[in-house]
Symmetry: C2
Subunit: 345 residues, 2 copies
């Protein structure tokens, strides 16, 4: 079968790899129909994060179950499924607690494991990891494209909003206009935020933020952006979603936070070397909550909303490629020609 493989900075190739097989009785094999390229993939693509070479890539799998191991009880071949970017056994302390990303079983997608940007994957702990999409929707392309972001970015944006403590009637500031930031806007609105202020650098993305319910947008940079956001919030917001993971965005998030407020952070910290934000956190008693999003904890709720048509993150996909187009997908994301790339395998 074919799959995308990372060979070094800027070098993604689609090439032949071995077909996956059931190795453990808790495994499933899934034929991928849809997947995506993630902003967090860009860190290794740009050589800013270590990654195995050659290394399989992609961590947003959606497809159809082809085979299941003997111990898999809630899935059958033919089931339409999606998987969070993290694998979870579903039974350990942390899975029981809803913190699926801290599952004691240390498995994942990509690297030395199978990657979602390929024809098939072996899915470990299938009962714990895979989420079944009801049969009624299994072949509805529009629904599937709205469901796909639940594998990562939509649940990640939701985690930012939940971690920032957003509740009905609140004012929230979202730092970042990438796919996660846009999903953060959707999530904050879904939680009932009265005002959502989206901060970013790209007019076309801030237009999507408005489509997603942002009541105001701030397109300025640096100090000017912070001042504008503070003006709009009469001195700072109690709920800030940090959806980038860069040093400047962390600093911005803590700068626009109101004393006593909370920053919900979900951007993979990349290049946050200096802890300058800590001074604001300390002086203003601004809490930092969040981290890698426990998608499995959120996906059932959000899936219900997508299926009933009240949640649709699919506009974040501004470009679609097939499996052979994955390298072009990375290029487009890297050069910001696309917000997020949908891969139809």
């Amino acid at each position: 079968m074919d799959a995308a493989v990372y060979h070094g900075e800027g070098d993604i190739r689609v090439e032949e790899v071995p077909d996956p097989e059931i190795e453990e009785p808790t495994d499933a094999v899934v034929r991928i129909t849809h997947t995506a390229v993630c902003g967090s993939d860009l860190w290794f693509y740009r050589g800013q994060r270590d990654y195995p070479t050659p290394g399989r890539v992609g961590h947003e799998p959606m497809g159809v179950v082809e085979a299941v191991g003997d111990d898999v009880t809630h899935l059958r071949p033919g089931d339409r499924v999606l998987a969070p970017f993290a694998i979870s056994c579903g039974e350990c302390e942390f899975c029981r607690k809803g913190l699926y990303t801290s599952c004691v079983e240390d498995e994942g997608w990509g690297g030395e494991h199978d990657g979602a940007q390929g024809e098939k994957v072996r899915a470990p702990y299938a009962d714990g990891t895979l989420v079944r999409i009801p049969e009624r929707y299994a072949d509805d392309e529009d629904v599937l494209e709205a469901v796909l972001p639940l594998t990562d970015v939509m649940c990640t944006g939701h985690h930012a909003a939940v971690s920032a403590g957003v509740e009905a009637g609140d004012t929230a500031v979202v730092v970042g206009d990438g796919a996660v930031g846009l999903c953060g806007v959707l999530a904050a609105k879904r939680l009932g935020a009265e005002r959502v202020i989206a901060m970013g650098h790209h007019e076309n993305r801030l237009e999507i933020a408005e489509q997603f319910g942002a009541t105001e947008t701030v397109a300025a940079r640096g100090e000017e952006a912070v001042e504008r956001a503070k003006e709009l919030t009469y001195g700072g917001a109690n709920h800030v979603l940090e959806c980038v993971g860069a040093e400047s965005s962390m600093d911005t998030a803590f700068d626009v936070a109101r004393p006593g407020g909370t920053v919900g952070f979900v951007g993979v910290p990349a290049g946050v070397e200096e802890a300058a934000f800590l001074g604001d956190a300390f002086g203003k008693n601004v809490a930092l909550r969040g981290g890698v999003a426990p998608v499995r904890q959120y996906v059932d709720d959000l899936l219900a909303d997508v299926l009933q048509g009240t949640l649709d993150p699919s506009p974040i996909f501004t470009k679609t490629v097939d499996l052979d187009g994955v390298p072009e997908g990375y290029r487009a994301m890297d050069e910001r020609d696309a917000v997020k790339v949908l891969v139809k395998v």
Copy 2:
């Protein structure tokens, strides 16, 4: 009158300064009877933090009201009072919210303002800032020495415990065996923690931690200390009190935190330049809460406990000096000859 004045690294002098006067109708003048030297004073004493030279020092005032301005309603000359290290108007959004350290009135002790290590201070916003000690206890020296830590370190340790989410039955780890860390142990026990594990480097201080209710102590350093604390907590603690503010202690706090746990931080960040702890915070979804302690919010509750004899942080004072002995007090703190120095003016 005489007061201690900072003249540069390692140089504290007791010298003549102008007597304070009522300047605003909301002021009081307080004759200091007791104050202390704080671990956070060591940062400028060691030249590790900018500070005005010459600059008045001390931010833990306790004494007797000498005069009040026309608008002061709840204090009279002769009242025995203490003041938190932060001044608060008591009326703004943040004071109303209990976040007195973010009071919109930007006043403080020390620097260009009066410092507590002196014969008298002008206390701005006296109604909002000063806390009256009931007359019955006003001349009981033992009580007063147990009350004095409420001006800062006891409430700061309490803020660490509250911020870390400590509740009855919990297991808490306290990082740091300075006065704040020791008060953190007291605070965690007072909140009902079942196990309190104190981490530090000084046997004599860890003995005080045990006296304060620590069920276990870890005296090792670095990786060994982290491993020992993780062993004791079967993989990490849900509630960690960071009571130092150094880079290594922040890293330790996040390292010993259990996935999904919370670090309550109250050590003034000093020398935390690298944000290495952020990787743990992100990967394990460990929250960071706390900051500069809103003492005024806590002092009434804790004062009640001190007055009824169920809370006594006074063993942190391992050395007592008079006003002329303040320079020697700094030296003793700096060289770790004393945990905390009591100043009887």
